[in-house]
Symmetry: C2
Subunit: 126 residues, 2 copies
Amino acid sequence: MEMKKNNLENENDDMCEVFNSHDDVVGRVRERIPDEAEFAELSEFFKIFGNPTRLKIISLLSIEDLCVCDICEALDLNQTTVSNQLRILRANNIVKYQKEGKMARYSLTDLHIEMIYKVGLEHILE
Amino acid sequence: MEMKKNNLENENDDMCEVFNSHDDVVGRVRERIPDEAEFAELSEFFKIFGNPTRLKIISLLSIEDLCVCDICEALDLNQTTVSNQLRILRANNIVKYQKEGKMARYSLTDLHIEMIYKVGLEHILE
DNA sequence: TTAACATATCACGATATCATGATATGACAA
DNA sequence: TTGTCATATCATGATATCGTGATATGTTAA
């Protein structure tokens, strides 16, 4: 898969010292990664998935849109907990909602969210 | 997209009370989500993506396999930090490594990791 | 053996996150 | 306007996570 760029790399291939054959590798990959701000934003985004309560909400909403009280009931969680987590999910652009009278109907923002959730689930289930 | 199961739901569609029309919804979705243990495991898994240092390492390894010192150099991070995060990544089955003499060459465990990383990046870049 | 290097582990103080109780807001019905 | 319900916000103490300095392990070369 990976192209051998330089046949001059021989037994020194495994050195990490000052005059090392990895300098080119380091320079090459360094240019191809996002910048500091993007990593910060991306980690904030993924942090949201790192909490079981939020994952449960995401899981529910990947099946269908629900109001807050239905989420509470389906997950057997108190309203403060759900509402707080929904606020975090909203702030991070993971769910959106529309008001319907005194109710708020929540849904996932887009398909990325569902994809990430499902690929992760697939991964842990092997 | 969503099938209307019951045409008897009328203006009561938006009630959340004791005899509410959402009971069927709640019961239905409750059966279709993973169990407690799976949510716990999944959230531990996603937590790993919620740290910029680990994301940077994942980002590098999605380009090519690297040894610890190359990762340190490419990211301008001290060795302890990188080694600690690699331990966490290993423990969570996100990277693997093979020993080559005194070096350790790290790579991503499987394509799921790369997919999740890339879909997340796509999401924040809109 | 001894030295040097690559990597791993331990311990710790600073910081962030969690669930929750108390309370506020805002809509509708009486 | 008063009460009730659905939802949101605030404050807090318990717990978890972060980066890092100190130190250990293990490999190779002299």
